[in-house]
Symmetry: C2
Subunit: 479 residues, 2 copies
């Protein structure tokens, strides 16, 4: 079976993991018989319509993913941006084999009622060690969507509590009765404002704030909640400052108008630092700073959704650190690379006034918190946020060169750290060709190629990626 191996030539800093393959292995056979058979068999029990390829994870390592037909691909998609420190990371392997992990798995507590004795220690040495500046409380959830929805619940409870006259004012009988009937005033017709092209999850309230694609939303009942326009900026941002300032100003005005006038009063806004599923759409720090002011002025909460941007990928641990806010966001949600999910909040005063208002059976998962702690330790040990920052700079420079040579394939190049995207004519073909040449890449929005490498992506991996993209460009421009 003929093989092609991509080698890199330049000299860079040492690889983090010597065990990692030197490059992709692409088998030039027609079809992938084992992958196809596996998918057909799986189809008997689960819906496989969206399956890209079955993977043997025991054979993956670092930045490399292996399918069932012996292909080894450089993975810059990372399980939809959710693998942080590489496949089969030895430090995570060590953590997963610990007695602490085993106990967390087989004795899963109802953490809200019966927290395990070292829950605080697990949180403070892991999740809370990297908490965004100004925020010191956390509530764990199961995944990004429910983390956002728990943040929404906190916001609604906070807003109504304020309007009721404060923490100690009790509910009226009418409120209690109407809540049981899903009607006002007990179930208030309040709203969360999100932005066009934003993505915040696929459960019902989170989906009501998601505005990425109609296919994500169609046929699913939604709340009557408002969406503000998100700036449609020109890239590179620093070459279009005047145009971009006007566009951001327009959107800020629209957002403020909605907050002041929407018929279902807005309790909070939710926004991603970079609108990821919607097509990697950026705005300036000034935009987000002003948005924060608007929320303060209108006495509503600001929830920053760092589910995709969080945990180092932008060259900061949290992408909103770029904004240099005067006040921290009220809540920041996370998931994906944390391999855990939850939201932070800043003040104890945002807690509900009674127990069991923000509650569920498990209230988090110690096994995932332990894993996130191991990820945090690994990020520190290898100084990975700095790695992302420097690798990102190197990679963006090379992509810029490609964009000069093939502007239609690398339009609107943009990014922070290695959280990089560009628009491509015939995007899906572009991604398919890259896969054939040994690199697994994802798309987002209508025509955007998004790079979501792991935090252990280094300059020598960039060279392989650039080499493949160069060949894709050459191929697509010849055809």
């Amino acid at each position: 079976m003929p093989e092609m191996r991509v080698h890199h030539s330049k000299k860079h800093s040492l690889p983090f993991f010597e065990q990692e393959p030197a490059g992709p292995t692409v088998r030039r056979t027609s079809g992938r018989p084992k992958c196809e058979l596996n998918k057909t068999e799986l189809d008997e029990v689960v819906d496989v319509q969206h399956v890209d390829m079955p993977v043997n994870f025991t054979q993956c390592f670092g930045n490399y993913i292996c399918d069932l037909d012996g292909q080894v691909l450089l993975d810059v998609y990372a399980q939809i941006a959710s693998i942080a420190v590489g496949y089969n990371n030895p430090s995570l392997d060590h953590s997963a084999r610990s007695d602490e992990m085993v106990s967390a798995l087989i004795n899963r507590p109802a953490m809200g009622n019966f927290p395990q004795h070292n829950w605080r220690e697990i949180l403070t040495s892991g999740i809370l060690k990297v908490a965004p500046k100004g925020l010191n409380q956390v509530q764990m959830a199961s995944a990004g969507a429910d983390a956002n929805e728990m943040a929404f619940k906190a916001a609604f409870i906070w807003k109504r509590q304020q309007e009721r006259g404060g923490y100690h004012v009790d509910f009226t009988a009418t409120e209690l009765e109407s809540a049981m009937d899903n009607s006002t005033p007990g179930s208030p017709q309040y709203s969360i404002m999100s932005f066009k092209k934003g993505f915040h999850g696929r459960l019902f309230a989170s989906l009501s704030t998601t505005r990425s694609k109609a296919l994500h939303k169609i046929d699913i009942p939604a709340f009557d909640w408002p969406q503000a326009p998100f700036p449609s900026l020109r890239y590179p941002l620093d070459e279009h400052t005047e145009y971009n300032r006007c566009e951001e100003s327009r959107c800020l005005q629209a957002a403020e108008d909605i907050i002041k006038t929407y018929h279902n009063p807005v309790a909070a806004i939710i926004v991603e630092p970079i609108l990821s599923e919607g097509g990697d759409i950026h705005a300036s720090p000034a935009f987000f700073r002003r948005l924060r002011q608007i929320t303060k002025e209108n006495n509503i909460l600001m929830i920053v959704d760092e589910i995709q941007t969080g945990v180092g990928a932008t060259g900061k641990f949290w992408a909103h650190e770029y904004w240099d806010l005067d006040f921290p966001p009220d809540m920041v949600t996370f998931s994906k690379k944390a391999q855990a999910a939850g939201y932070y909040y800043g003040e104890k005063t945002i807690r509900p006034n009674k127990p069991y208002r923000q509650f569920n059976t498990w209230m988090g998962d110690a096994s995932k918190a332990i894993l996130f702690r191991a990820i945090v330790d690994e990020i520190e040990r290898l100084d990975l946020v700095r790695n992302v920052e420097s690798t990102g700079k190197y990679l963006r420079a090379q992509l810029f060169e490609l964009s000069q040579r093939s502007p239609n394939l690398f339009m609107n190049l943009r990014g922070q750290g290695t959280f990089i995207a560009f628009d491509s004519t015939d995007r899906d073909l572009f991604i398919a060709k890259a896969k054939e040449l040994g690199v697994l890449i994802g798309g987002c929005g209508e025509r955007t190629v998004r790079l979501r490498p792991m935090l252990i992506f280094q300059e020598h991996h960039c060279d392989i990626l650039i080499d493949v993209l160069t060949r894709v460009a050459r191929d697509m421009q010849c055809s």
Copy 2:
């Protein structure tokens, strides 16, 4: 420090686990200093309003739970009914230490795009091995609430697809546009019908079907979805057949009227076999059989929520097996004792017509599916469903005797298997006194004591429980 140890005397079948404590250890000190300190420290980072007691899970075993002050309690609450085969179960410990588990933890796939090579095998040898009769497909979720919501999404998609003219009929431009704006027809004002006192989770759509307590719902926006009355039967059921038949008939008629006339058309109903959080409310198999007929006649789906009743606790693997249905439910959701969550569906035709309509980043969690498989194996190895059936019979007989002696403390005794409840005047005091004497019990509804022992609860544990309840009754009737 004075100690009290409860011993059992009668001879029963051998204990499943010899390592288990012989009985509770209650320390009669004033206060629980280490538990209190731990809770105070935890309060710095998470809301502890609902904390009952911190637990050292490394010291728990089998049916026994240990707090931080050396108390060992017989646990018939089991982390809100979610520990199936005992704390630190050796078989689960073995599974948690497997290479397969470690890989699942540290290489968590985006299972919808990149399923691991043995995903089908993990499902078919675990979750699907115990799938309810007639259902052979599964979609994993993270927890009970999102399992229900994914089932709701499947129902809405199915319903609209039918009305649109079938699987192959595409969306109109108007539908696609309006969905992006959360408005009709793309976001239809359709509903899920639930029952009064039902509990289906605390996210926004699941909470819209939850009708347990106002405190669970207040201040949270809800969908305009209908609730049908659930029969309020007299116990024991077989002594009030005529009254109960009339009451069930009344509720069935009301349910059917809602389904036929509610202004937001009903796409599916959701119901628990025993309304658990609402107060362990039972209905007859005939009621559920007729309900199933009504859904068929009105061309809507029936979702059975087995999150609390599922996985053996009622003396059947699934509680709805008692109903002897002509057609299986369309979907059955599970979580809790499965330590995993998800929903089953019966027919491939219920799948959405396009990929990415029912989708999220992880689409399940292999680590939890592996754990559930180990739980299923342990249930088979120890024949635990049969154990629950026989232990439940033994326990109900003894509780019946107690109810004859103290009717105000053991009112409306009811149950299947060891899934048993009774109503008590001054319920919270009853539960507090039982805890002081070494048994951890939970409540539900307004005045219900619910027993939710693990599947490894045996007759000798019943004796300890009955001894404690007898003393509680004596104490409460003297005071």
